[in-house]
């Protein structure tokens, strides 16, 4: 089986899973909205938590994949690793955007302000900028090998940046106390809420894995086609 055919088979097989994940996402929605008690102090808006937090978890997972796969690429020089990193970045971008959009929507009614420079939101914001830079860089370099190298360098540096941004925000907040990020129900979640959260985490992670697989296959297919076209042109 040629690489192109393998990629096409993956696409065919993964597409139904995207549908399944979306259905499971709908189930999460129903569970969170209708079958989970609201939190007394924050009101209904607190339920945004069940979308916001799993999205954030996935965003950081995706970014971790970009960083580690980028390192692997520089070591092994396997172009498929580069394609995987790029796929993870693009899919991760989608989840990161959701975090950045739902965060302020949650923040406004609960903290009275659209934005606070708290650790998670600030970190996510800069993650978003780094992934954006990553995708822009990829778009700005034509030659595939150089594009892969540059992207890998940025991916690795970006991963190194994360702990420093976290420490910066932490230090900043100890000097300038800000509204404490209200958790769903204090330090420990009551049972029903915990179940919903874990259910949501599982579904979002599955959704990410499925999208990643699909996007990776798309990239492999495009690359195989481009290579075939180039070979035909040479012949």
């Amino acid at each position: 089986m040629t690489p192109a055919e393998r990629a096409q088979r993956t696409l065919r097989r993964t597409a139904p899973w995207i549908a399944v994940s979306l259905l499971l996402m709908a189930a999460v929605y129903v569970r969170a909205l209708a079958f989970t008690p609201p939190e007394a102090a924050q009101g209904l808006a607190q339920k945004i938590f069940y979308v916001h937090v799993p999205s954030a978890w996935v965003a950081f997972l995706a970014f971790g994949i970009v960083g580690s796969v980028s390192l692997a690429y520089l070591v092994r020089k396997d172009p498929r690793l580069d394609l995987l990193a790029a796929a993870a970045a693009e899919v991760g971008m989608v989840f990161t955007t959701v975090v950045l959009v739902t965060g302020p929507i949650w923040g406004k009614p609960v903290w009275g302000t659209w934005w606070t420079w708290d650790a998670r939101l600030t970190l996510t914001l800069f993650l978003w900028f780094v992934v954006l830079a990553y995708l822009v860089l990829r778009g700005a370099v034509q030659e595939p090998e150089r594009r892969a190298r540059y992207a890998a360098v940025l991916g690795i540096l970006g991963s190194l940046l994360v702990p420093f941004i976290y420490v910066s925000v932490y230090l900043f907040r100890t000097v300038h106390p800000m509204p404490v990020v209200l958790r769903a129900g204090g330090p420990t979640l009551p049972g029903s809420m915990r179940v919903t959260l874990f259910f949501s985490l599982a579904v979002f992670t599955l959704f990410f894995a499925v999208l990643l697989r699909y996007r990776f296959a798309l990239a492999r297919l495009a690359e195989a086609r481009a290579r075939a076209a180039a070979e035909r042109a040479d012949a």
Binding site: F129, A133, A140, R149, L157, L160, F164
Partner: protein, 226 residues
Amino acid sequence: MRDLVRVAWAIAAKDVLLEFRSRTAFASALVFTALVLAILNFARDPTAVSAHSLAPGALWITFTFAGMLGLNRAFGLERENRALDGLLLSPASRTAVYVGKVAANLVFVGAVEAVALPLFALFFNVPVVPVLGPLVLVIALATLGFVAVGTLMSSMAVNTRLAELMLPVLLLPFLVPPVTAAVQLTAHLFAGRPFSAAFGWLRLLLGYDVIFVAACILLFESTIEE
């Protein structure tokens, strides 16, 4: 090791000499600095915002922008004359090339900062001299981190379409820890607070420099064609 130093020195010296001869980039960076300082000063309502509270941020905005101009110039020069190819064909180690470039950029940015600082003290009327020692240390550390990462980023940016636009896009997220730390430390110093109170920020700055200089030295190789 001695070879590395020798080559890096040669590269740095060449760059600095080139820049010194033309002086255009230096002059524009200075004019830009003065402009930014003046605008920031006029942009505030003097009764509501004291020069003191604005000062640290103003200083570092100025340094950052001037630094970007310097970084762009560095590799732009190489690209114009395809001088980089010549450098790479030479037996010079990649690390030496990187260290040399960083050194040259440090000289350039440092020179701009050296002129900008008195201008800043003048426009914002802040007591720079009493804290000059620690202030210079903070400026040196932050500039090192900024230039180290910036030199690496510009070595990539220069080979992309829209190179001048690419550099800020790549670099700015990476400036957040060192510049935030520098601003906080600067504010501490201007307020006459003891350095020890801001020790966390100093550690952050040092940690950033150590990790990122090392990472950039290791990764520079990958930004160069084989």
